[in-house]
């Protein structure tokens, strides 16, 4: 099965003409993949060779039959025995093909599985911040189509290998009959090698364009269904469909062009074998008239010429597949970021690394943390703070002041430009793999749940006991909701399960953070989708638990009041710090934010008659 692949990154004009980076070659990677399952591949290749070589035998028998018919050969075996032998020889490759296919599909299926697990493993466990894998549609085409394209290159090996075995043996047999007529087969083969190269270059170019067009369709379909409610509410269905039609038309144009080029290559190949056959007629004419070249010889040449001349075509096709695989690997590489060459083709997927040794949190220090988005230039600059065990740090500021960036940079989810995180006097080498349970856990601003039971979502493999779960659920103020969900913690949630409300999702994510009893809690506006009472309960329970070390982005009064320190960010810098009282006294900006907070909390005095 061949699945056409998709690409979005390459759609950006500046990148269209980038050649694949030289370090990533499908051939080297193919060898590594082969090394993961050497026995299975060797067996497949042997069976393929057999499948391709066996058809040589009926050709030889056919030659005897026709020479007997034309009376050129004194009968050894009678002609009917020869016909029976021919029939048997004709059927023999079929048995080989069944086993060759079985072996080989097992090999390709297992190696595809291996690559996919490797890619996922890298995204899960690699050190440092992960670059965005793009939209789910793009990531899907990396995992599905680019992996298939890479393995398709190895599929080409077996076919080419079999063809080569047949072609070499056939040429030896023909050469021994008549070297001159054999040259009628060899000359066009050489021609094919040259011209195929040119056509495949064109195929390479047009296939890339076609895939880009295809990727745009796929991504747009995905986005459309992700935004289905907005489209309905905006009554935008006709306009969305019109855009789909435009993308479809472009895809058709590019796909047809690519396909015609591929056919050009195919027909050129089979045209070559017809040409070679014609040349055999030309060169054999004299010899046949004089009787040096028999009808039997002629039929043998006719039987071999097709497969023998197609051998270079297979080679050309293999090269084309290699180019496709190069591009596929390049895209996979780009998605994985800094992955070393051998990660995607390793026999076992990456797994969690043992953490740097570190005692329980006593003191967390952040020094000069600078983290700017490359594109927008937004972010945070030179943030310092120190947090002792059991303290609560609240980060606040206006939209775009860099609060989330600070947390994400600290956790190693974003690449940082400068600064370090120090855990008990010891600089953390890689926050991304260090600030995880049991040391630290995180609730993002828009948390995600997965299609599995609520229990699995909260536990997420942490090995939390039932008691830990009960505590986490209570701390996250999720206990009341559990009763209302049909099966409590066993309720299937996520896109294909029960749809939770925004507040429930946020609290479930908070429970996930609590479940592993981490030393350090990092919350990004964790209570923003909660109503007043739920939110009060959330903070009450969190602080009542005592001893929790916590960094939270919040604008909540409850949080401000309990904070040991508040950091006020403005345009990525800390512009004020201290407890609530200090900030109210010293910082005009904080007083402004504070005032806005009061309003947002619904002070009726702020109520005004309707405008106009």
């Amino acid at each position: 099965m061949t699945l056409d692949l998709l690409d979005l990154e390459a759609a950006r004009p500046s990148e269209v003409d980038l050649p694949p980076p030289p370090r990533q070659t499908a051939f080297v990677q193919g060898l590594r993949i082969a090394r993961a399952r050497p026995g299975l591949l060797a067996l497949s290749l042997a069976l393929f060779a057999l499948f391709y070589a066996l058809p040589l035998i009926p050709g030889l028998i056919q030659r005897e039959i026709f020479d007997t018919l034309s009376g050129r050969r004194p009968a050894g075996l009678d002609v009917w025995s020869l016909v029976a032998l021919w029939m048997g020889a004709q059927l023999s490759p079929l048995a080989a093909s069944y086993f060759a296919n079985w072996c080989f599909v097992t090999f390709t299926s297992l190696t595809r599985q291996m690559m996919r697990a490797n890619m996922m493993g890298w995204m899960m466990f690699a050190r440092g911040p992960r670059p965005s894998p793009g939209t789910p549609g793009e990531a899907l085409s990396r995992f599905r189509d680019d992996v298939s394209e890479t393995i398709a290159f190895i599929e080409g090996w077996s076919e080419t290998f079999g063809q080569m075995v047949f072609a070499s043996l056939a040429l030896v047999i023909m050469w021994r009959i008549d070297p001159l007529v054999t040259s009628a087969v060899i000359a066009p083969m050489l021609l094919v090698v040259v011209i195929t190269q040119r056509i495949t270059a064109g195929i390479h170019k047009y296939s890339r364009v076609a895939r880009e067009a295809e990727a745009r369709v796929t991504s747009f379909v995905g986005e459309t269904f992700a935004a289905v409610q907005a489209i309905r509410v905006g009554a935008a269905e006709p306009r969305v469909l019109a855009r789909l039609d435009r993308l479809n038309a472009e895809r058709r144009r590019t796909a047809v062009r690519h396909r015609v080029y591929v056919t050009l290559l195919d027909t050129f190949g089979s045209g070559t074998s017809s040409l070679a056959f014609g040349l055999i007629l030309l060169l054999a004419a004299g010899a046949m008239r004089s009787g040096r070249f028999t009808v039997g010889d002629f039929t043998l040449f006719a039987a071999y010429v097709g497969t023998a001349t197609s051998a270079p075509r297979w080679l050309g096709r293999l090269l084309a597949r290699k180019r496709t695989a190069d591009v596929a690997l390049m895209r996979i590489e780009r998605m994985l970021g800094d992955a070393p060459l051998d990660v995607v083709t390793a026999a076992t997927p990456p797994s969690a690394r043992p953490a740097e040794p570190a005692g329980p949190l006593e003191r967390l220090e952040v020094r000069g943390l600078t983290c700017r988005h490359a594109s927008s230039g937004k972010g945070v600059t030179g943030v310092d703070f120190t947090l002792h065990r059991g303290q609560v740090l609240i980060v606040t500021g206006r939209v775009g002041s860099g609060k989330s960036t600070l947390l994400r940079g600290l956790l190693g989810l974003l690449p940082i430009d400068a600064g370090e995180v120090v855990w008990n006097d010891r600089p953390v080498e890689d926050p991304a793999t260090f600030l995880i349970p049991p040391r630290c856990a995180y609730t993002p601003q828009s948390p995600r749940l997965f299609t599995e039971s609520l229990r699995d979502n909260i536990r997420m493999g942490s090995g939390a006991s039932d008691e830990d779960l009960a505590r986490a659920v209570r701390l996250a103020v999720l206990d009341d909701d559990l009763g209302r969900l049909g099966q409590g913690l066993d309720t299937l949630v996520g896109t294909r399960g029960v749809t939770l409300s925004g507040g429930q999702i946020q609290r479930a994510a908070a429970a996930r953070m609590f479940a592993g009893r981490p030393d350090l809690l990092v919350l990004d506006d964790a209570s923003s989708a909660l109503d007043v009472r739920t939110e009060r309960a959330f903070w009450d329970r969190l602080f009542a638990e005592g001893g929790q070390t916590c960094i939270a982005v919040s604008h909540r009064l409850e949080a401000y009041r309990r904070a040991d320190e508040i950091l006020l960010l403005d345009d990525g810098r800390v512009v004020a710090r201290g407890d609530l009282r200090t900030l109210l006294a010293d910082s005009p900006l904080f007083r402004e934010v504070w005032h806005e907070t009061l309003q947002a909390s619904g002070e009726p005095a702020a109520d005004e008659p309707r405008g106009g």
Binding site: M1, W102, Q113, G234, A302, M460, E608
Partner: protein, 582 residues
């Protein structure tokens, strides 16, 4: 269903047929030339002049080249045909899915729908374009060969025709052998896609909470199923290849044996024996490709089944006869919810006998805990769902009387989430409506306080936004607001509009709200429903309704409720105030 999509392609099919017929002729000539050559070069008696042999060789080469050129032409037309037919299908599927109930969408991830709308159709595209080329082209060639054989020798013609019939029947019998195996592969892919999509979107959640091991343990069974289903499918498919290849060898052998028999009796020349073998060999190509296409056909049948499955799903929400609202898009309606009963799954009641009214131009503040049914009420108003009991009315007319386009044209919605398209700012703000003037867009951005943000965009309205980022949560929400402003509806629903924003952006939105709610050029103000957890958001409300577990706990004029210290609303206010005062 195939017919529907092929009918507009008839002209292309006619051209294609011409190319195929001419190509078949060119292919049929070749073996006759070879027969003449063998008989002229090697037969007993006086050998033919060498020049005659050379011209036969040249003729053979010419026929081969012609056949190849025609093949390329045929490919071009069949590809055009396949893609235009499947593009229409993709369009229809997308339109149909957009029309289906929300329950259909909440039950499926976008990744799964990509497989349905794009993956299955792409599988069909290959089938459409190859089917005619291979099956029809192959069939033509097969028929041509048989006719030629009949003309040359009745017995040979009869034998190979009988063979072709048997072969055809056998191929037909094994057609259904392995259709379900592709079903399993596709299902496995679809599960994998859905799994992957969620993990990609939740990558930070997983990594920062140490969930990698858990994800990997969930991934392995899915990958295993992909590999297993693929091996099983390929092994079953191989049987079809074996049967076809075996058949072809038998036909080939039949021609050889019969040829030898006839030649031994002196009835045909040795060149004719070879010609018959060549024709029998040529039969193999159409028999094999037809066999392979039947394999594709199974693949396509599986896709087609799934496509039909989607297309036959009827939306339970259908357009009413129309209420003539198309010229009232901006007119503020009176909204009535009357005795609404609703459950998403038909069992667990979400709304229980809810009755609420909002007068023309009034503002209703809807309060209640998470899960109390506020958002559901808004969805009913949009007819994303229909209630099981009671009715929703605009200006007294049941909204089920109107077409959905009419209804939704009158209402604007700001949700807490905004989904962005990988498209320009303009396309995102207008949802691909090119008729909105640029100046209007820029004006709305400025009104909303997005001016500085917009000024920083490198390509202005044509700047591409990506779903991956580029907008802060606040900016994204203001963009959602912009959509409503551009639409200028008479009824607006704000669903927790300010919940995720910080105070400064809250204020920006309050300012935007001021503009949205004030009378518009002499027309009355919009009717507005504000759904919020926070009291500040409803401080503009004329009326208040508090929902609790799907029931109306309290409803009335805001000023009345405020004045009554025993009201829930007053208590809520004091809770909020306590928090503020401490």
């Amino acid at each position: 269903m195939l017919k529907t999509y092929l009918r507009p392609e008839y002209p292309r099919m006619a051209v294609l047929a011409t190319f195929l017929a001419a190509g078949t002729g060119a292919q049929l000539i070749a073996p006759m030339i070879v027969r003449m050559f063998i008989d002229a070069a090697a037969a007993g008696g006086t050998p033919a002049p060498l020049g005659h042999l050379y011209s036969l060789a040249a003729l053979l080469i010419l026929a081969a080249i012609t056949a190849q050129l025609l093949q390329i032409g045929a490919t071009y037309f069949s590809e055009q045909l396949g893609w235009s037919a499947t593009n229409r299908m993709r369009h229809d599927l997308a339109r149909h899915c957009l029309d289906l109930d929300m329950a259909f969408h909440t039950a499926r991830s976008p990744g799964e729908l990509i497989e349905r709308v794009d993956g299955d159709v792409a599988a069909l595209a290959a089938f459409f374009s190859q089917f005619i080329l291979q099956i029809v082209g192959g069939g033509l060639l097969l028929a041509g060969i048989l006719v030629t054989l009949w003309f040359n020798d009745l017995r040979m013609g009869a034998a190979l025709t009988a063979f072709a019939v048997v072969a055809g029947l056998v191929m037909h019998r094994i057609r259904g052998l392995a259709a379900s195996r592709f079903e399993r592969v596709r299902q496995a892919f679809s599960d994998f896609s859905a799994f992957l999509e969620e993990r990609i979107l939740g990558l930070d959640d997983i990594r920062a909470n140490g969930g990698g091991g858990h994800v990997m343990s969930r991934l392995q069974p899915r990958l295993q199923e992909l590999a297993d289903s693929n091996v099983v499918a390929a092994r079953r498919g191989q049987w079809i290849f074996l049967v076809a290849s075996g058949l072809f060898s038998i036909g080939f052998g039949l021609a050889l044996a019969l040829g030898v028999f006839l030649q031994q009796r002196g009835e045909i020349t040795i060149g004719a024996v070879f010609m018959f073998m060549q024709y029998a060999g040529m039969m193999a190509v159409p028999i094999l490709t037809i066999g392979q296409q039947l394999q594709q056909f199974q693949n396509a049948t599986a896709s087609l089944t799934r496509i039909r499955e989607v297309l036959t799903m009827a939306p339970t929400l259908v357009d009413g006869p129309g209420a003539g609202w198309s010229d009232q898009r901006s007119a503020a309606p009176q909204v009535d919810f009357e005795n609404i009963e609703f459950a998403y799954d038909g069992r667990t009641t979400v709304l229980n006998d809810v009755s609420l009214s909002v007068g023309r131009g009034e503002i209703l503040g809807l309060l209640g805990r998470t899960g109390s049914g506020k958002t559901t009420l808004a969805r009913l108003l949009f007819r994303l769902y229909d209630p099981q009991g009671g009715r929703v009315a605009l200006d007294g007319a049941d909204i089920r009387q109107a077409t959905r386009a009419e209804l939704r044209g009158r209402i604007g919605l700001v949700t807490q989430d905004i989904q962005l398209f990988d498209a320009t700012i303009r396309e995102n703000a207008t949802l691909f409506d090119p008729s909105v003037p640029d100046a209007r867009l820029v004006e709305v951005f400025h009104d909303l306080g997005l001016g500085p943000w917009f000024a920083a965009q490198p390509a202005g309205l044509e700047t591409r936004l990506t779903s991956a980022g580029g907008l802060s949560a606040g900016e994204a929400q203001l963009l959602a607001f912009a959509r409503v402003f551009l639409k200028d509806p008479g009824l607006v629903i704000l669903d927790e509009a300010s919940s995720r924003l910080d105070p400064a952006t809250d204020r920006l939105i309050e300012l935007a709200l001021d503009r949205l709610l004030k009378p518009r050029d002499g027309r009355p103000p919009r009717t507005t429903i504000i759904i919020a957890h926070k009291l500040s958001t409803v401080r503009r409300a004329d009326r208040i309704a508090i929902l609790d577990r799907g029931r109306v706990l309290e409803a009335g004029r805001r000023t009345d409720l405020e004045a009554d210290p025993s009201s829930n609303f007053a208590q809520l206010l004091s809770t909020g105030l306590t928090e503020v005062m401490q």
